[in-house]
Amino acid sequence: MLKISADKLNSLFDAISAKQTLYITVDNEKGSAEYKKYESGMTLSKSLNTVRSAKDFFFPQTENLADFKVEGKNIEVIDVREESEDFVVFGVRACDARSFTILDKVFLSEPVDSYYKNRREHSTIITMACTKPAETCFCTAFGMDPTVPEGDVAVFSDGENYFFLERTEKGKKFIASISDMLEDGDTAKLNEVQEKARNIMKKLPLANLSTKSFGGERLMKHFNSEKWAELSESCLGCGTCTFVCPTCQCYDIRDFNTGHGIKRFRCWDSCMYSDFTKMAHGNSRNSQLERFRQRFMHKLVYFPANNNGEFGCVGCGRCLSKCPVSMNIVKVMKALEDKE
């Protein structure tokens, strides 16, 4: 497999960023990881994952859709879409990489979301295989192998070298574009590292989490479960889980009056919010129980019902560590799963 030694990684980044915009994961001053536009001298984060997911690249928190210019009583509509440039994201984990497939199902099916599509097409996703999963990880429950992540290119580290594996056509082209910096490498040590990681996977506290109790066909059983009252009791109705979630894709469209025109923008919304899908007649889900149920039913029942059994969760574990009251999808799954 083609590889680059760890000490040359930054020169690789320099080379990539000379051609197109490169985003890598870096540690911020508080020790948590985030995606940042690469600038010379930045070092790749050693953290397992970023606090915010990689969905931001394709589905940013706020996005201007159109401007309306108001002059007197005339209104002019201005298309504000910018031509996206090609960009590379380096260091995406398996879970986030899988989230793109889920988001694609939403945004790229008819009617296609052209804003999203535009960014997807211009992106090259370089994933990073996991070697040290956290106790909150449960991607395996959704059929992922984090030691061989998806993406355009998968990168593996054996501690001394980074190995590059093409996974798509786009990935192949990308590797070709940097091949002068890569060399063939011995994967013996890598195999060891991967084997070790796979063994850890089996020992993870959530390794036995099962999705077999969920899916479209279980709709009424789960919808009518009495457990929701207890499960949702502590929910604060904030949007933390939604906003750190790599697969949550709901948004609101709003107009902002700048004083000299209107900006129509969309922004992330959360089904946990009391004003979510508020319409002229009021709210469709009026209690926190209903809102809470909606979020998890969507991920575990409605989404698979509409997408050939694919769940709307990738097991990244972000909501497990970020929920202010430690309520999360794992607790919901365990409470609702078949007990026999």
Partner: protein, 146 residues
């Protein structure tokens, strides 16, 4: 700091109906000049001024915000300006804490008889804000004029 001579700050002045708005009228009656940058919004009492109004002004492009009310003890509603004083002191202190320039905000007590003071205050405040230049630290980029 470099002063841009051509920069014309947008200044919002909230004036209480009973003292400061009348003071502003008096400075007009006495033909006392102050810059046209100052635009007055009439409120019943300085205690009607919600911190949200002040932030809103900065968001939409104001470079300075000044609140004027009756002198303490003279409030038409007996105690309104005492509440104003506490609220606005704390708010201005918070804006300062966030690094917003101190001279962009002010509170002055101007009575109905103090037309000259009103003009002086507005002249001084406009100059102070002009020196600071455009509000950048508390602006909404979407509202920036092209």
């Amino acid at each position: 700091m470099q002063v841009n001579e051509n920069f014309e700050p947008v200044i919002v002045a909230f004036c209480c109906n009973w003292c400061s708005y009348a003071g502003a009228d008096l400075s007009g009656t006495n033909r006392l000049n102050y810059p046209a940058n100052v635009k007055i919004i009439r409120v019943p009492c300085s205690c009607r001024v919600n911190p949200m109004f002040i932030l809103r002004a900065f968001q939409k492009g104001a470079d300075g915000v000044i609140i004027c009310g009756c002198h303490p003890g003279d409030c038409h509603y007996t105690s309104g300006n005492y509440f104003t004083r506490r609220r606005i002191t704390l708010l201005y202190s918070m804006l300062d804490f966030l690094g917003i320039e101190r001279n962009r905000t002010r509170l002055e007590w101007v009575s109905a008889a103090e037309g000259a003071k009103f003009a002086d205050v507005m002249n001084q405040f406009t100059e102070d804000v002009r020196k600071l230049g455009k509000n950048r630290r508390l602006e909404d980029l979407r509202c920036r004029k092209q």
